[in-house]
């Protein structure tokens, strides 16, 4: 019945796979931005009686932040540090995609095993939320560049948000705003940190930062 929700969730899954398989940082940022926009639209389709005013406001805020502000911020950083693509990730792109399909199967299995109290709008919500969370974690682990790790963190948060959207139809606005503020501060700080790491060390490969201890 809820084909719009299903479409958004399938887009979520596909965008995760794209993030796992793309090497160009600019393209990754754009995919993550589209994912944020899709997630912002998700709650509007979840309520059956039409969205309330505060939900519209919140969605607009989310889309503005995840779809415009974060990508803009990261693109600026990208331009400053002059890095075009991730050259040697810890786990290659082909293998990352293969891992992605494994995660997808695991999350579908989890979604089918997890009894949830709330009635689900779509059977896909929990699996795709799990898959997004796992993809985010995987991006943080498998990539070297600090920028991709920031993206992984954003994807992880997207997954948590999708999970939350599934569980409660009306989330308290204050909590959501708090999460968004945290996220904004984190992305901002990380963006600045990436820039400074780059200026200090002339690269943003986090695996080399351990050299600071010696």
């Amino acid at each position: 019945m809820n084909s719009a929700v299903d479409l958004i969730l399938i887009f979520l899954i596909l965008s995760n796979l794209a993030l796992l398989g793309l090497s160009r940082l600019g393209a990754c940022i754009r995919v993550a931005a589209l994912q944020g926009v899709a997630l912002g639209l998700l709650p509007l389709f979840l309520v059956e009686s039409g969205p309330a005013a505060h939900q519209l406001f919140f969605s607009a805020l989310l889309i503005g932040l995840k779809g415009i502000v974060f990508p803009w911020l990261l693109t600026v950083v990208l331009r400053e540090i002059q890095v075009q693509r991730e050259i040697e990730p810890f786990i290659g792109y082909g293998s990352s995609l293969a891992f992605g399909t494994v995660f997808l199967i695991v999350s579908l299995w989890l979604g089918s095993r997890l009894p949830l109290p709330a009635s689900m709008q779509s059977g896909l919500i929990v699996p795709s939320a799990f898959f997004t969370i796992m993809s985010g974690f995987f991006l943080i682990i498998a990539r070297k560049k600090a920028l991709t790790q920031v993206l992984g963190y954003l994807v992880l948060e997207n997954g948590i948000y999708a999970f939350g959207a599934a569980l409660s139809e009306n989330q308290p606005v204050l909590i959501e705003l708090g999460i968004l503020l945290d996220l904004f501060a984190a992305a901002f700080v990380m963006g600045i940190a990436v820039f400074h790491i780059n200026r200090e060390f002339e690269h943003i490969d986090t695996d080399k930062l351990s050299g600071l201890r010696t």
Binding site: S3, D6, L7, I10, I13, L14, L17, G21, Y93, G94, L97, A98, G100, T101, L104, I105, L108, S112, S122, G123, L124, P127
Partner: protein
């Protein structure tokens, strides 16, 4: 009527398959601003090649001579299994989709070992690449077909494509789109088309398919070209069955829709080939694994009963 339909389907495939290559070349010529060869040029080429005599290297054995024959035979056998539009397939039995996929694997296997049999390291390189990429394309294709098979509840190509209908699109749209994209990538990869392989190039660094058939000449090369044309037609027919499953009840209308789709597909391939560069060899596996991932997503959607 049924037998007539089967015969027409088979004859149409055998007779019209080279036309697709002609349409592709014509489209590419149009984009390059040339007049281009006639759409019937592939027929002239085949005719010319079949009139020639064959030359065989002294190092090549019987495998080299058997390769093109077995290749053509398996492609022709695959043509027996594939329905097109309203026309039924000549043969249909439970599980024939696996036979269909593995007839192409047989074709590839003999093409590869006949390339290895020439003893040329150059052809060995092409064979290695072909095997590497097809090992990734095969799961994508098979899993995509499995998703459609699971959705329709049949394992025979004829039954799958006759029970799939245009009215399924609103309900199963996402699945069919995913399978369509994945099969489309496999279609380009298996037919040595541009994002994966460039059919025009003779540059040793980038060749995959062309390099394997360099030593074949005359009728052998003609058979290989004709086999490639049949493969293009048959995989295009799979795409037509998934993407435009028109079943109005009128056989001719349905078949015309499928044929129009095939022509459109050829034009589309020509457009892709004119506007895109081929991928770096290292990036091809990512594309094919991506296609397999899409097929898996589609299969999961169907299996989980989520849609």
């Amino acid at each position: 009527m049924l037998i007539l339909g089967k015969l027409i389907n088979l004859l149409l495939c055998l007779a019209a398959a080279p036309l697709l290559g002609g349409i592709i070349n014509r489209t590419k010529a149009f984009f390059a601003g040339r007049k281009g060869p006639s759409v019937f040029q592939p027929y002239y080429d085949l005719f010319k090649l079949f009139q020639k005599g064959a030359v065989y290297s002294q190092t090549a054995g019987w495998v080299f001579r058997a390769g093109p024959v077995i290749g053509l035979a398996s492609a022709a056998a695959a043509a027996l299994l594939m329905p097109l539009g309203g026309l039924p397939a000549v043969l249909a039995f439970e599980g024939d989709l696996i036979v269909f996929v593995y007839l192409f694997a047989l074709l590839r296997f003999f093409l590869v070992i006949s390339a290895l049999d020439t003893g040329s390291s150059f052809e060995g390189m092409g064979a290695a690449r072909e095997v590497t990429f097809s090992a990734l394309a095969e799961p994508a294709f098979l899993l995509g077909l499995a998703a459609v098979a699971k959705y329709t509840g049949h394992t025979s190509l004829s039954q799958i494509f006759s029970s799939l209908d245009i009215t399924d699109w609103p309900a199963a749209g996402p699945t069919l789109v995913l399978v369509g994209i994945s099969t489309g990538i496999v279609f380009l990869s298996e037919n040595c088309r541009i994002p994966v392989d460039d059919p025009n190039t003779h540059l040793e660094l980038t060749m995959i398919h062309e390099v394997m058939v360099l030593d074949n000449g005359g009728p052998d090369f003609g058979m290989i070209l004709y086999t490639a044309a049949l493969k293009l037609w048959l995989l295009g027919a799979v795409l037509a069955g998934i993407l435009v499953p028109v079943h109005t009840g009128n056989v001719w209308l349905d078949t015309t829709a499928a044929l129009l789709f095939l022509a459109l597909l050829a034009v589309l391939v020509g457009v892709v080939e004119s506007s895109m560069a081929r991928l770096r060899l290292l990036h091809v596996p990512s594309l094919l694994i991506g296609a397999a991932a899409l097929s898996i997503v589609a299969l999961m959607l169907v299996c989980g009963g989520l849609l």
